[in-house]
């Protein structure tokens, strides 16, 4: 097994880091020549409200086709948590034109790979395919956008699969459970308090009618957009989109209530006991997300702060807490500025053998205090910016990553064309900005602390009930 990265740290990365979003770079001249095509996208809106976004990348004869719905677990209500994700599973169970399992069978026959994922903010479906198969994929996705069968028997099987998924990803994973409970404590009013996969009791009581109501409410061309990246001609893609998606009818969408979280007015603490060996500590501070790309400053400063704290192996938390002080076996920070709902800035880690969670908390707090009082060095910030630029170019190597970047930004209501501006804003962040956000947001009033208290295995109590994604 890898010695450098514990399973815990990998989990953190999976949970927080992949949902990165579109960030673009001001390219220097040599790069513009080398990757001149790289930021050009084409967009068209059909009469029924469906938007189609195309990015051409002609390196290989493949394409990624994605359909994004602006409905995620944050749009659910109490008693039916998990229905967004359950519906995602049911989307593979057939329409009058396509029998149960037929969708995946046809994608496979086309040499493609397909899957889907549900987040708090959206639900998305994708196929990676040889480019000549794109029209068939569009036909299949258009069909299930409005004509899903939602059969009783299929539902009865699939809800059992989802409960197994919950056991696999949450019930038997102490760190997942810890995050689930942390969210439920940090958020009291906002729907981010419920796990994406749903509470087990809600799954046990879910019916096919819940799934149908969800489908009728949100699955419509005017609540969706299509992203295509690959070796395609954008005009041809628009023509196919018109042909396959164009006939779907617009539907009235329900209003969305903000359900804002009331201000937190004091520190909150929770402890989870579960079978494990390594203690875990998570400190979560309420923080802003990007709402106005041009005017906002704080979310960009927090992004740079996260990078200064743990953007690379010599970044502050790993260097000081893991390597120099030997206080932790893992220590990291994470923050995502792009979300429909409220954001949090996380500091997390596991204490070294012989050290306590309290000592680790004190160590993390000392790092925060240091930045609040002393600020960050200019070279630390430059380093974070260098990594930001390189990461943007590396992302161009993956067709899938480019499509994700576009889709995720659009999902939270930011036009993907503002990528460049977001990168500009990140590049403009100063050391003073970083110090200012550290002072402003790292306050106990805004803090929730979650601790995993490991229990020995043998007679260990059964753990009880985060992210969900179809396998």
């Amino acid at each position: 097994m890898p010695a450098r990265l514990s399973d815990i740290a990998k989990f953190y990365q999976k949970r927080f880091l992949p949902m990165r979003h579109a960030k673009w770079i001001p390219l220097c001249l040599t790069l513009v020549t080398a990757v001149g095509w790289a930021d050009e996208t084409f967009q068209k809106q059909l009469a029924n409200g469906l938007r189609v976004i195309v990015k051409e990348d002609h390196r290989s004869p493949t394409a990624a086709h994605m359909v994004w719905y602006r409905a995620g677990s944050m749009d659910e209500s109490n008693g039916s948590t998990g229905v967004a994700h359950l519906l995602e599973h049911m989307m593979f169970k057939g329409t009058p034109a396509t029998g149960p399992g037929e969708f995946s069978r046809r994608v496979a026959a086309a040499g493609g790979r397909d899957n889907a994922f549900t987040s708090r903010d959206y639900t998305a479906y994708f196929q990676q395919i040889p480019k000549q198969q794109l029209p068939e994929m569009m036909q299949l996705e258009a069909d299930r956008m409005r004509h899903l069968t939602l059969d009783d028997k299929e539902f009865a099987q699939e809800i059992r699969v989802v409960m197994e998924e919950r056991r696999l990803r949450t019930e038997d994973q102490p760190t997942s459970l810890l995050f689930e409970q942390l969210n439920a404590v940090a958020f009291q009013a906002h729907p981010y308090r419920a796990p994406i996969i749903g509470w087990m009791n809600d799954l046990e009581n879910m019916t096919v009618h819940d799934a149908r109501a969800w489908y009728e409410r949100w699955y419509a061309p005017n609540n969706a957009y299509v992203v295509v990246v690959g070796d395609v001609d954008h005009q041809q893609v628009f023509a196919w989109a018109e042909k396959y998606y164009g006939a779907l009818e617009t539907r009235a969408l329900p209003g969305r209530k903000p359900q804002d979280e009331p201000p937190q007015q004091g520190i909150r603490r929770l402890t989870l006991k579960a079978p494990a060996d390594l203690p875990v500590l998570i400190m979560a501070y309420k923080a802003p997300a990007i709402r106005d790309v041009e005017r906002d400053v704080d979310p960009y400063a927090l992004e740079m702060l996260a990078s200064v704290l743990s953007g690379h192996e010599a970044a502050r938390l790993n260097r000081r807490l893991v390597r120099e002080q030997r206080l932790a076996v893992d220590a990291a920070a994470s923050y995502d500025s792009t979300s429909r709902g409220p954001a949090m800035f996380f500091l997390h880690g596991s204490p070294s053998a012989g050290k306590t969670r309290a000592e680790l908390e004190a160590g993390l707090r000392a790092q925060i205090a240091d930045i609040q009082q002393q600020g960050v060095a200019r070279e630390e910030l430059e380093r974070a910016k260098a990594q930001l630029i390189a990461a943007q170019i590396y992302k161009l190597d993956s067709i899938f990553a480019q499509a994700m970047e576009i889709g995720q930004l659009e999902a939270i209501g930011i036009p993907h064309s503002l990528n460049r501006r977001i990168i500009d804003k990140l590049q403009a962040i100063t050391a003073e900005d970083v110090q200012a956000v550290a002072r402003k947001y790292f306050r106990d009033e805004q803090l929730t602390v979650a601790e995993l208290d490991p229990q020995p295995l043998p007679a260990g109590g059964r753990p009880r009930p985060a992210s969900a994604s179809r396998h």
Binding site: I159, D172, L278, I393
Partner: protein
Amino acid sequence: MSTFKLLFSLTLLLLGPLANAGPKIEHWLTTSGSRVYFVESHALPIIDVQVDFAAGSAHESSGKAGVASLTRALLDLGVAEMDETAIAGRLADIGARLTGGVDSDRASVSLRSLSMPDKRVPALAILRAVLSTPQFPATVFEREKARSVAALKEALTRPETIAAKAFWSAMYPEHPYGRQASPESIDSLSRADVVAFHAANYTAERSTVTLVGDLSRAQAETVAEELTAGLPRGGATNDIALAVLPAGGERYIAHPAAQAHLLIGLPALKRGDPDFFPLVVGNYTLGGGGFVSRLMKEVRDKRGLAYSVSSHFMPLAYLGPFQLGMQTKKAQVKEALAVSRQVLAEFLAQGPSDAELLAAKQNLIGSFPLRLDSNRKLLDNVALIGFYRLPLDYLDTYQANIEKVTLDEIKSAFSRRLPAAHLVTVVVAGD
């Protein structure tokens, strides 16, 4: 449409899906004896370099389990001119990424960098230092050893880790592949063990260098020469025998988890074995084809017993395993085990239907371009070809080799490779 594209399309029409040639792989030896594999691609200003050594955990001597991982972990945590902080800081300054890992056969060091000289040159200099002058500082050694022990102790509370370790021990009772690092074995390692493992295994003769991206052939030759000039020479000779088949049987391990973890398998396939293609095509129908496999249909779709169920072959140098696995809640263990065994037995007896065989070939041939549509994927494929000395036209002939597979070949390969009497079953948390 350009002339080239037009010609390409015509070729496609004539030859059907078999027309996708693989990338052009150039191959040579460095002065030091490293084997080099290079794919030139200027589409992006990126270079990827991977150096693989025959330094996986199978090469540990008995009593030293864990030394392979620890050696790899320490490789870039201190070199002659730089400590770990300087290495990580300089890499971050130029946006370069140094990664890698260890499996049973291989230890890998991978570098991704922008290709502009002001980024590429310093990034490659760091990689060269990591390969040539690792210091394994004593204090870093102690710290990383403690972290490894902590991570392993935690992992050993997880049902999936317990199941995997018990499974490999049962499949390879007398073979290095079955040897498992324990907190005690790691704790007993000394710095001298790491230094010795490095000297014996991280040598030029045991290495392959794979380069993909924005370099000319001449540049690639220089890079490979410089990277490998300072590698230790000579080193261990491999005397690892092919694994022999274990006695079959079942092992049940109690655990408080809500779900049981089930694994069934045995040592089955060596890298480069001619049975590879029949086994891959057949396994697509059995449990490799994701949502369309028989296991998925019977276990998940029809009965709702599991979220994920699959089977696969993992070819390794000294006979890698076939593995069938799933997770299901405790009360369903017997049913899940019975269903998956029945699916396996039926498949062994009859193989895929004509329609299933066609579907398997359609997908494996049709999806071929998706295996190669990024520099990263090219790097993975070419590094594998180089390390295991597969034919250089492996990718060019891949689709044709899939197409050629017959039903009889599948049945023959499965019956020879999966003798039921030797199948090992491990169930954790099925109590």
